[in-house]
Amino acid sequence: MRHVEQVMGTAVSIEAASDLIPGVVAWLHEVDARFSTYKEDSEVNRFQRRSLALSDISDDLRHVLDACADLWKFTGGYFDAYAAGPLDPSGYVKGWSVEVASRRLVEAGSTRHFINAGGDIRAVGGPWRVGIRHPWEAGQLCWVLSITDGAVATSGVYERGAHVWNPRTGAPATGLRSVTVTGPDLAVADAYATAALAMGEQGIGWLAERVTDGYESAVVTDDGRAFTSAGLPLAE
């Protein structure tokens, strides 16, 4: 069955066996409570204002901090959990939490499900048909992918205004309108999409190198050019 939950500031659609859905919903709310920067006493905020010492943080937060640091290095600083000043790992946490939820579903015996957290998707046991939103037309798609077991993440500047910043210049990212990345891990795919968007047109070349690690991509530039990597799993 399909369940939609409002959590983490967005709508999360969960397609799974009905008895497995409550566990996913509970986990996502737990993540929201612990990692949201909007919640005064979240673990992230307590760590941020140093009322929680590094030695006392949870394994989950340690994983998130380590992953953000690795991605910061790997993307040449373009994926930056400190881009806005204080620590805000939500660009990693959303994908990671969905990745964990999907893994738990598999462990619970699920062979077919997907979770779509505000446009970032982790699917198992497809093929699932995943449309990529047209960056100018909210109700339209510009590509349709066929995903059997993997993640699809899209970053774009058409929702919520230009919310991706180039951490090197401090100015809003320009050049790319929408970046979609597919691959084995949703948190990584999401971070790559965000980093490429921040890079601007250079991000196209950077993404082309990620193909070797199993991450394919589809990019739309500000002036409407469209790029897809050769291995992008387009639906027939």
Partner: protein, 163 residues
């Protein structure tokens, strides 16, 4: 002269590295002279990316080079090549001065090489993709939706239909 041509081709391979794209993988025909120094050069073109993986031979058309001997490894001149990479064909232009790579310009594919979906082309995009396929997708990937955007969007309709 043959040596300098070889150096130029090797350099073009290096240029592809700078541009940060993967070319279709074929072993370089020329014992590459200089990937290492090339990879350290700063890309001059605004579109050039970071260093990358092995590139393949780029069919090179060399422009006449100046015959002056310099301390660097490469013959002075401007070299152009088209190379295939994962997104299509890319044109490279490489300038060598003082025996060193002075600049690399890369042109990304334009409308002829990739589908153009700028606003004026929305109608044709609808025709080609949307009508054919949008009716039966399971999920929509897009930049993070606000709850209001979700309610208005295609995903909400899909979720409603799937319940």
């Amino acid at each position: 002269m043959r040596r300098s041509t070889a150096a130029a081709v090797g350099t073009l391979t290096g240029a592809a590295l700078i541009v940060g794209v993967r070319l279709s993988v074929t072993a370089p025909e020329v014992p590459a002279a200089a990937p290492a120094p090339a990879a350290n050069e700063q890309p001059a073109g605004g579109e050039a990316g970071a260093a990358s993986k092995p590139a393949s031979k780029a069919p090179a058309e060399k422009a006449p080079a100046e015959e002056k001997e310099d301390e660097g490894k490469f013959k002075n001149g401007t070299y152009k090549a088209d190379a295939k990479y994962v997104y299509g064909t890319i044109s490279l232009s490489l300038k060598v001065t003082g025996g060193k790579i002075a600049s690399v310009q890369a042109g990304y594919p334009t409308a002829n090489d990739s589908g153009t979906i700028n606003p004026p082309a929305i109608e044709s995009l609808k025709a080609s993709t949307l009508k054919a396929q949008s009716a039966d997708v399971d999920a929509v990937s897009g930049a993070t939706l606000t709850s209001e955007a979700y309610v208005k969007g295609l995903q909400a309709a899909l979720d409603k239909a799937a319940k």
